[in-house]
Symmetry: C2
Subunit: 287 residues, 2 copies
Amino acid sequence: MDGDFPPFPLEKSRVAIVGVGLMGGSLALALRGRVAALYLADPDPETRALARAWGLGDTVAAHPEEAVRHADVILLAAPIRAMLEIIPRLAEWVHHPAVVMDVGSTKVAVCRAFETLPPRFDPIGAHPLAGKTHQGLSHADPRLFAGRTFVLSPLPRTGPRAKGFAQTLVTLLNARPVWMAPETHDRLVAFTSHAPYLLSLALTLAAPGESRAVFGPGFESGTRLAGSSPRMMLDIMMTNLDAVLEALEAVETVLEQARVALEQGREADLYALFQEALERHRKWFSA
Amino acid sequence: MDGDFPPFPLEKSRVAIVGVGLMGGSLALALRGRVAALYLADPDPETRALARAWGLGDTVAAHPEEAVRHADVILLAAPIRAMLEIIPRLAEWVHHPAVVMDVGSTKVAVCRAFETLPPRFDPIGAHPLAGKTHQGLSHADPRLFAGRTFVLSPLPRTGPRAKGFAQTLVTLLNARPVWMAPETHDRLVAFTSHAPYLLSLALTLAAPGESRAVFGPGFESGTRLAGSSPRMMLDIMMTNLDAVLEALEAVETVLEQARVALEQGREADLYALFQEALERHRKWFSA
């Protein structure tokens, strides 16, 4: 799926961003001044007030229709199930050709919704693997994506214009494009993001209050994902349920193996397990 | 247990550091030039070669006896069960009064061993909650402890000299002293450090190789602890088994609760769980 597509004329394009939280806001900061017009929409009044205070868009609306109706490019950066409600309405709101990209954390559900759009839309799924502990527009940063993986999930119908936009955007953000089918993406991020969130949550909720006195860097990194938005995480979980349960089961199997070895004092087995984890970790992160 | 003790004359003291890995090496870097003499011991030839190349100690020996025999202060920074072998030998090797402190990650086992030392020794347990993904002297850093919690676990027999040394050292390192009984410490760090290590290991071992394409910051932070030394972790686990199993069970109970809610599609329960984790996380880390 990888390849070189015609460069996309960003500077001549009117771009809508629907959802101006950490992701949408960071995209807006990166695109500001590089596009013909930037139309923003967010249902949260405080977010809109901040966007206006920053002079972030040419327009800042409450309703997505106002942002998308004159846009050549529509960037959807809302919680996944909000996007699943918005996508079927695009045909009513937009009557000219438009590239549509979402940046949601699961890809199968949104890409299925994209398939139902009329042919004037050129849709592509995306998922930037960038994040911060703290959510919301106030933490947005145009460099959020620099050096990060930016997954691109084209549909069979995705045309060179959407692919060209995707490549141009990823280059602008200094991100690393990874082209991947929606199903593959969702199965793998269950292991690398959704199960880790659930473990982070479990660590956070299991720790007794008095343990705060001995929080160290290990606990901070281990619980970082528990600071994610509940609405965002619920949408992720509910649109990737089978893969999440599969990943969770795989993690629980290893945990169980460690627990039994601990209970039985099987030190050689524990050491082998610890050593295997260290070797993988080194291979992955020591480069 | 907190209080003000007579300042300890570091500059007149001969200090031994047994074990010159990340912890011992960072302590040596912080103490270098501020003590009358610095005697180092480490069983690893490469570590000793690096310590000599850095001019890190007045002497660098393979055997702990050579480091401790003329020392006024003995800092033990070896794996816990190596320290449990060394402590009973101190009485043979050292015939003058000496402060003894360990910096191991569990406190009960070492403090019990300290109790058996002859009265000329003034022992105190310690645990700096500082770490790095990468271990070993080559990653040592005198600023490793700055701003970090430094748990101090005095024994009933611990005198003002050892307490004064502990306070002086913690001040020198710009760390934050937290006085805590060994039993309390071990129970709480099982939640904040040892269970998180096991979860980090489980995430690392459960992730399929191909998932590397979608590693993001969440996976990196969630698996950071899997890079810990297997020998160090095994000693930690085996000297804190009951507390680790208790913490692991508490974590698994929350995970199970989340898994069942996912399977049954109980969104309101999931949202409540996610929201509770977010609120705790904010309370802990947003200050």
